[in-house]
């Protein structure tokens, strides 16, 4: 591959001039510029990014750590981040961490060793659990989705508590009183927040929350299926199931089907996220829309701001959610 020297020699100028021909063409005379560009095209010259990056000590690359890229919800957020990256002319490295702390630490090391300029974390593990002391202050960091919005770094997500309450209110308004909950993993912040939202709504309606009809499950279809089996065989007279993700809900639908329930007549089921498959379920899933792509875009925009050095205040963006009403939740007021 041709180098800057080769182009310089062919155009009869110095390497510095060739460099400027690309970075600041206005500085050159029309004549020289034309000669340099011609030489560059002739030799098919492409500047080595490696050399440029080394010189400038920035990679223009952002590392995204995703707990599971095969999860459709995360994949959509990553899509949004991608869009934002293109807009900010940044590159993207996606790392599937499998929620493993050691892999996340490797990611941090990539920033420390100049392989990436910043870090977007989609998991909920805060930076200070990964890094000792104050080292993290130097790392441009944005946390998306299930972040604690009181941390020292910017976060983007939704208001889990109120969004969850919104759905719970909907279920109550449809006449449901005994609402089983299939929550996500118990130790997760999201899970706790959404649970609080449900309790809020139930308390507001003057009802009592029955915590014996809560099951915890991994955020997956298989997890939802098993948890629903457990819950449905244990608790009687449930009229609705509040699932903390669409995948959990889809698993729950399968379980209910297999146990002989006629859906949605015998049992209403609600989800959370609004993944595309929800629309194609039988019955189509009533759920809470999370603006996944938008979350990604905003996360990237925040990162871009941090990298361009503007000393921004630490913001915690909460994007609006919406109730998506389809037919998996039925009105049982008439009964």
């Amino acid at each position: 591959m041709a180098q800057i020297r080769d182009v310089a020699r062919r155009a009869g100028v110095s390497p510095a001039t060739v460099s400027r021909a690309f970075s600041d063409p206005a500085k050159l005379s029309k004549d020289t510029l034309a000669r340099v560009l011609a030489a560059a095209t002739d030799l098919k010259y492409k500047p080595s990014s490696l050399a440029q990056l080394f010189r400038e000590k920035r990679t223009n690359t952002v590392l995204v750590m995703v707990p599971d890229i095969a999860n459709v919800f995360f994949a959509r957020v990553v899509s949004g981040i991608e869009r934002g990256a293109v807009e900010s002319k940044l590159n993207l490295v996606v790392s599937d961490t499998g929620d493993d702390m050691d892999i996340e630490r490797v990611g941090i090391e990539m920033v420390q060793t100049y392989r990436a300029d910043g870090l977007i974390q989609l998991g909920e593990r805060p930076l200070n659990e990964l890094l000792p002391n104050e080292e993290h202050a130097q790392i441009p960091f944005v946390q998306a989705i299930s972040a604690d919005p009181r941390g020292a770094y910017p976060t983007v997500g939704i208001d889990d508590r109120s969004s969850s309450a919104m759905m719970a209110r909907h279920l109550i308004a449809q006449g449901h009183r005994r609402i089983g909950v299939i929550a996500g993993l118990q130790n997760r912040l999201v899970t706790q927040e959404r649970l609080k939202g449900i309790k809020d709504a139930i308390a507001d309606a003057g009802l009592d929350f029955d915590d014996t009809i809560v099951e915890y499950a991994p955020y997956s279809m298989g997890g939802g299926e098993q948890a629903a089996q457990r819950l449905l065989s244990r608790a009687r007279h449930l009229t609705a199931l509040f699932c903390m993700s669409d995948e959990i809900a889809i698993g729950a639908i399968r379980a209910a089907h297999d146990l002989g329930y006629d859906l949605p007549g015998d049992l209403s089921i609600s989800g959370f996220d609004n993944i595309e498959f929800g629309k194609y379920c039988t019955p189509p899933l009533t759920t809470v829309m999370q603006p996944a792509e938008k979350i990604g875009e905003v996360a990237m925009a925040l990162m871009s701001d941090m990298l361009t050095g503007q000393d921004m205040p630490v913001v915690h963006e909460m994007l609006p959610t919406e109730l998506v009403i389809r037919s998996s939740v039925q009105n049982i007021c008439g009964e």
Copy 2:
């Protein structure tokens, strides 16, 4: 951040010695090594990857071009590639190209400018459509999934034709004679190959292929839904629908439901890919299992071989597929 000079000074050695302490510790005396390592830890020294990569002129990074990362099937392949990357100690950059030639060209440029060492293409666009002349000979390139297995570069995928024939034979064996086809995009190689497979099976069974009951659609749920609507309202007496992807099949199930079909009694539907959601459909989807993760792993293994400079013959791996029988296809022999 501390540099090699700082460590050298603190340990009372030259930078060369520090460098060797990490790359080839056996070359140093026990005493010096210990001193250097101590100094490095004290100063929290991390060598700048940027400088190392620049020196070595390789990034240890592979670029993966995906037409749509939010597509679960692709996401699974990427997962497999990730696993392979970890194993080969390579980094991964994932680019969602949206099947756009210009974005793919940018990807190629990343290799040409030393930002990535090689390229894995998940789309079906061959390299020689993207690059003029013989330039592509220099680019380590592996094409996965829907590649033409006669090209000049390695490919990994399945035998689309025979896998498709396998499913078609299954439908025929279950008594189906009028089988509608919801194919993918017409101009795609995969689509054509899978269509050939269907024709093979139909011919082998001594039947005639009716190409008026074929509809083409994008490889998506929405595409499948619309195509199924068109086909079902146009063609009468179909007993089965051969869908070229699970997403298409899921869309078709929705369409058939909405048109009042009782599934699978009135109509059998088959998919292709074996994505996780297929198991949770109503009815659960009969499909062809593609080893998505495995395809990714093999693709990365081939790439790793190419990069370690072993002059391998150009291989075209065809991984085995399997029929996954669930209940969306019914036996109608008794009728």
